[in-house]
Amino acid sequence: MIEIEVIRRILTSVRSALRGIRSAPLVFVISVTTLSAGLLLLGTYLLIVQNMRGVLENFGQDLKLVAFLDEGATDVDAMKHTLSELSGVQAVLYVSNDTALVRLREDLGRDADVLDGLDRNPLPSSFELSLGPELREEGSLRVFAKQVEGMPGINETRYGEDWVQSYGRILRAMEWLGLGLGVFLMLILGTVIAGTVRLAVYSRNDEIAIQRLVGAGGVFVRLPFYIEGAIQGGVAAAVAISLLYALFGLGLPVLGDILVFLLGKPVPDFFGRQEMLALVLVGISLGVGGAMLSLLRLEERT
């Protein structure tokens, strides 16, 4: 019985929220437009971050740690097995000193004849370790390299320290920028919603007073405004995603060459279902949060 009454009250509040929107459609349109613009900005940024992260991830896949062997190291198979068992190691390739010399010749190309004067192969044998994403972060990679260096038969390790450091810095910068932009937009958009709901509260002051007069409690009075905020936020997010998708489609032919240069592919990835749902939830949360903010001071006793 209690559940039925709760459902009835929610339905009544939904009807009241829709009535509120119908009674002031211009305010609703202005609010949704402003929110959509903000969410479009946020969505565009997230889309860029998502694609750049993908690019960085691809670069990261090529990251290798090279472990050079002592000159006298003999039990190569056992060492290879031990290395491949280490956490985060995806593959281990043994490169003999002869293979290393062949590679060097290929790299030197026309200048390879400088190697002809050598009376013996000076290059050490090595293992090339392909690393998983968990070892692409600077700190963990440094620790891992030390661990490998400490193994018997390993003389020295090398990895793309500079690249790893840059990779970490770029990712961190993007994440901080994203966080800052997110918080900034949330504040702006939350304030917009709060202002809109406050307008709605003012315009429905009489209705609220009468509701209170006939025994409406705080939840009954506030719930329609929360629902109205949620509808505004949800519609704004849907509009923002649709606009972003349209701009995405329109922009691809124009930006094709630039995208190939920047991302290494002509068609970047659009949001998946989860990301779109998350953006809608952000919109709804903004709507409800803004409504809560504007109703903080609503007097209980009238």
């Binding site: 009454e5 009835r8 009250r9 339905l11 009544t12 009674s23 009489d206 209705e207 007073a209 009468i210 509701q211 209170r212 007069l213 006939v214 025994g215 409406a216 409690g217 705080g218 009954f220 209980e300 006793r301 009238t302």
Partner: protein, 236 residues
Amino acid sequence: MIQMYHAEKRYEGNVYALRDISLTIERGEFVFLTGSSGAGKTTLLRMLFGADKPSTGQIIVAGRNITKMTASSVPELRRQIGVIFQDFKLLPDRSVVDNVAITLEIAGVSRREIRARAWNMLRRLGLGHRLDHRPKALSGGEQQRVAIARALVNDPPLLLADEPTGNLDPDLALDIMDIIADAHARGTTVIVATHDPSLLDRYPHRRLVLDQGRLVTDRAPETYPTAIGRAALPLP
């Protein structure tokens, strides 16, 4: 139904709206609250439905102590009370039936039952042909009948009316009073604030007279109708 013990309402600057009011109103009584403008009638009614708290003293309505009541428990009290105002306080953008339905919506009644009860109440008050009209399309008397329907549709045990006929011509005023009297006859405790002498003369009910915030006279119904020099009960 109502007990007031030395209740006072004092505003900033030591301005008294009500002073030392003590009275008891029994369940099922019909009481007129009268006095000149500014005597404190509206303040007293507002305290009875929890819109104001007394500065000192105690007020008990339907077993609830208004003085100690928290804001969150006021709605529960108000669902036991129907209130009518001089200016009707109807929602202009809602139909007549929706204006009445609001009371039942808040009480959590099902939609089908809301329609049925609101229609029945409006038909009983002679507004069956006005269900889907907006309040603006109605006369003053009709609007007040809608307000009464809204106040009574939930069968409250207590009805408070603040100058319910103040904006109406004499014929319509009597019409409204007859409706209120009918609610009383069905068992509702009724308090009507008015300074209209014609109503007071027509309905021989208990009369509480306020003057500058003080209860100066409490006349029992059996002392009516009498001419000049009506007997007055001693104040409690």
